[in-house]
Symmetry: C2
């Protein structure tokens, strides 16, 4: 169980995770890719409020962290799709717990 | 299952959760309080790298979000302890999943 782990080691793991998915957008982008490969504009539509510049930056960072793949298809004109890597997929439990906690948090604090 | 939920509603819940625990410190402070009530200086020691000013600000924000309680004990001089609320405790699954994912992320990307 979590709290029986050596505290500083566990802190380090949580820090690692937070650094990889920090900010308000990365987890939302990953959630958008949970349902399958998407083009840039599709992600941009689903992640409400994100600018193209920020989405572009965040996608690059997610690629660097091996969470997202960028695939160029040899069509005319070439098309680009973003997919979750297996490592990105392993974040689904985190997303699920955040989603589930976000629901209860809205009831508890925001009250609607 | 998460991906079968209505997408924009699920995004909203994840957004709510991310807003409540945003930044690099809040989840680490909460993790530090998982093991029991702590005084300011004890949290400050456990959460490596945080300044007193930031810790103070984050604790106030966590109180506003009903995740942490501040208890003043009638000793001489008065002592102050911080505890997790029941609502804060409900974040433990999120912490557990982040911890567990952080471990695999370190192996996958950082490679040590």
């Amino acid at each position: 169980m979590l709290i029986q782990e050596d505290c500083s080691k566990a802190m380090l793991s949580i820090k690692d995770a937070l650094e990889a998915v920090d900010g308000r957008w990365k987890l939302l982008i990953l959630y958008s890719l949970c349902s399958g490969p998407k083009r840039f504009k599709e992600i941009s539509r689903e992640v409400d409020g994100i600018t193209d510049k920020t989405l572009s930056k965040e996608l690059k960072n997610l690629q660097a962290n091996k969470l997202v793949n960028r695939e160029v298809h040899d069509t005319f004109p070439p098309t680009v799709e973003y997919t979750m890597t297996a490592h990105g997929m392993s974040l689904r439990k985190v997303l699920y717990e955040l989603w589930s906690w976000g629901l209860s948090h809205r009831q508890e604090v925001i009250g609607k």
